[in-house]
Amino acid sequence: MTQQKQHSSRWSKQLAASAMALALTSGMSLAQAAETIKVGVLHSLSGTMAISETTLKDTVLMMVEEQNKAGGLLGKKLEPVVVDPASDWPLFAEKARELLEKEQVDVIFGCWTSVSRKSVLPVVEELNGLLFYPVQYEGEESSKNVFYTGAAPNQQAIPAVDYLMGEEGVERWVLAGTDYVYPRTTNKILEAYLKTAGVADEDIMISYTPFGHSDWQTIVSDIKKFGEAGKKTAVVSTINGDANVPFYKELANQGIAAEDIPVVAFSVGEEELSGFDTAPLVGHLAAWNYFQSADSELNEEFIGAWQSFIGSEERVTNDPMEATYIGFKMWAEAVEKAGSVEVDSVRDAMYGITVPNLTGGYAVMNTNHHLTKPVLIGEIQSDGQFDVVWQTAGGVIGDAWTDHLPESANLVADWTAPISCGNFNITTSQCSGQNY
């Protein structure tokens, strides 16, 4: 808190400074004395995404506090710099620039939506920053300056489908999603994957709805009809955030129970469920790399630390928090290993670093900037938690470019020599579109 205060007082100084800039006296670029290591936090604290991202901001602050208690890094204290991009995508780019150029932070933890990441991407690449992105996403990207600690599609969607096919014997599939890039890509990958598994075209139904869709009557009724054909049917949901509550309510009201048509969701976690009355949802599924209910000592410690940091025993933990946790731990370790916060050396130190997962086992950072992590399938319980009903035997390597789409099947990402490229085409040996 005191740090935040310092932060705001510095801001008021900069108000004066920027007034001067307007008056063309000068632009103040505050050359930072390097007595602290600055950690930028780029999560929306207002606007539509605040609901999800505020938690991650607090997670980073908690991690920083813990790290400082443990003596900081390289003998220096960590200093968090929090900005609010206000769920406004162009503002993400502006704030990223502010963090890197003006605040001269050494690392940024931030972004949630794909569009915010896409907005920030050119900035961190231009200014050679370091961004840790903690949310599951559609893949099809690997930037030199970004480490992706959330799941790639092959770490969430494909294992979930495998589970449903194997355990539940599902033969008919509804791919329902919000109309944006993550569901579009995920569904394309799944469609291709299902077809290679022998699912016929007429056994796949794809439906897209707008953000915040609230009237699900027609679509749920369509799902119901689709599921009446006599084959076991499941819904793979990439429905985003706010639209989920009315969706599940409508499912329950139209009498679709999890035993009849289970829904497996990739965007519904503990935090989203805390806004639900979960009684009618019991049995529906989610696929993540982490559930709060995971049985491990490390996890219990983490939950305890989180709840005391935030001052509420009601607060839950979720997958993006674990991804933030892993990202932070990895960065801290890489800094120690490199002996410096300089971006290029930290990046080189990142490869191969392992930190323990909260669910057990270890996460490994690969040279494609994605993690190797286990995948878990959980069933929603009446208390808003998930029961882990299945998990992969070991870690799954995050794949930046999916093998299930023709355009990306021949792309690989490897940021070490000799390839050193985020989208290396193995057929043409080309590396296109780099900003560096």
Binding site: A21, G27, A86, E94, G433
Partner: protein, 419 residues
């Protein structure tokens, strides 16, 4: 008042000319500071400041456009963000086409988002956007054509006041929903991003950035001059006449709808230019720009600065946006309280905005000093009088047949004319 109008005319010119001088100076000095000095120098301006100030200039141009229709012609458009965004998309499409083979999938023709949506050919409405000239034409024509179509229908049917405001809001909302659809071929929620260069100049190069900044300053100056020419011509007086008393203007013999349409289209084009300059500087355009909130925010810039004065709109845009930059950094939770409060305070106590504030204060002083001899209502007094619900107005004017059993919408049209 008799003197003050002349004085204020002179002053308007004076402030306006000073403003133009500042803009010209900015167009030279900012690039100079960012290019000539090195990081660490006192006079160095980092790219953060250049893009931030550039963004403010684009917003100011949008504010001028809004002021032209609202401040001068009384058309409260809650959909100007749509024109801004359309201009931005036209520019964004040009920038996307410039990426060419440098996309991640290395497709020479299709932007990345089309490649992974399995599109095989470029949709017809993307044709031609690889040419800068064509794209710039579209920056003007697309918002202009939409404004023309919409205005032609709305003004001809005499949709005025709040009705117009509400349907302009519906317009931008519908466009937002449409652009969110991936099937539209504008990149859906992600919009257009990861631009590489413009006219062959690398967008990440400080020189390009500085040039874009200068262009924005010049565009704002140009927009200001154009609007000043319009409002100082007889046409400007017709606009004020329409704002103050639409039917009087009509009975004098002016085709009100044509004047409204003209000014609406000009304003939409200005907004489009603002959007087109905004996009390469912030690096992204997405459907969020169509959000009704954005349009309303631009109204607030104008209201805070002082509507009906062009430089008021510019100051308003700068002040509010600077406040936003500062507030969202220092007190993120308080920003909405502040912005919301600004709306309320401005409408209740600052009907003429900050620019009108000094006049308002000096009037107050003067009217206190010589309360006897004032034959005109000072704005403060006028405000106090207007603040009371005006009961008789409606019934006084209402012709007899209207006084019937059904409840009537009170003061709707009338109020529209007042604003």
């Amino acid at each position: 008042m008799s003197r003050s109008i002349i004085v204020s005319f002179l002053m308007r010119d004076k402030v306006g000319n000073a403003l133009l001088a500042v803009l010209l100076a900015l167009a030279i000095i900012v690039p100079f500071c960012s290019l000539v000095f090195e990081p660490g120098d006192t006079f160095y301006l980092s790219s953060y400041w250049v893009t931030l100030l550039g963004k403010y200039l684009c917003y100011a141009l949008l504010a001028v456009a809004v002021d032209l229709v609202w401040g001068y012609c009384g058309i409260l458009s809650l959909g100007h963000g749509a024109f801004f965004a359309l201009g931005g998309y036209a520019m964004g499409m040009y920038l996307m086409r410039q990426i060419g083979e440098r996309g991640v999938y290395a497709n020479p023709l299709l932007p990345d988002f089309m490649v992974f949506l399995n599109w095989t050919e470029l949709p017809w409405y993307w044709q031609g956007f690889d040419m800068f000239g064509f794209a710039m034409l579209m920056v003007l024509l697309v918002p202009g054509a939409l404004a023309f179509l919409f205005g032609f229908l709305a003004f001809r049917s005499r949709v005025t006041g709040v009705y117009l405001s509400i349907i302009t809001q519906a317009l931008t909302y519908a466009l937002m929903l449409a652009f969110f659809r991936n099937d539209m071929g504008f990149g859906g929620n992600n919009g257009l991003t990861d631009f590489k260069d413009i006219l062959g100049f690398n967008l990440q190069h400080p020189g390009t950035r500085a040039a874009l900044f200068s262009l924005s300053a010049l565009a704002l100056a140009g927009g200001y001059l154009l609007c000043r020419f319009i409002v100082n011509s007889k046409l400007g007086r017709v606009l004020i006449a329409i704002r103050d008393s639409e039917s009087r203007t009509r009975f004098i013999g002016y085709r009100v709808e044509r004047f409204k349409l003209f000014v609406f289209v000009v304003s939409a084009m200005l907004a489009g230019v603002a959007g087109a300059l905004y996009v390469p500087q912030v690096g992204i355009i997405n459907p969020g720009e169509f959000a009704p909130l954005n349009s309303i925010e631009s109204i607030v810039w104008v209201a805070v600065g002082g509507r009906g004065t062009l430089f008021g709109a510019i100051f308003g845009a700068w002040m509010v946006n600077f406040g936003k930059t500062w507030f969202t950094g220092a007190f993120p939770e308080l920003w909405l309280f502040f912005l919301g409060g600004l709306f309320v305070v401005t409408t209740l106590w600052l009907p003429k905005g900050v620019v009108g504030l000094s006049a308002q204060l000096s009037k107050m002083r003067r009217s206190k000093a010589a309360s006897v001899a004032v034959s005109e209502k000072s704005p403060v007094q006028a405000q106090a009088v207007e603040a009371e619900p005006q009961p008789q107005q409606a019934s006084q004017v209402a012709p007899e047949p209207e006084q019937q059993a059904e409840p009537t919408p009170k003061n709707l049209d009338q109020g529209a004319a007042n604003v």
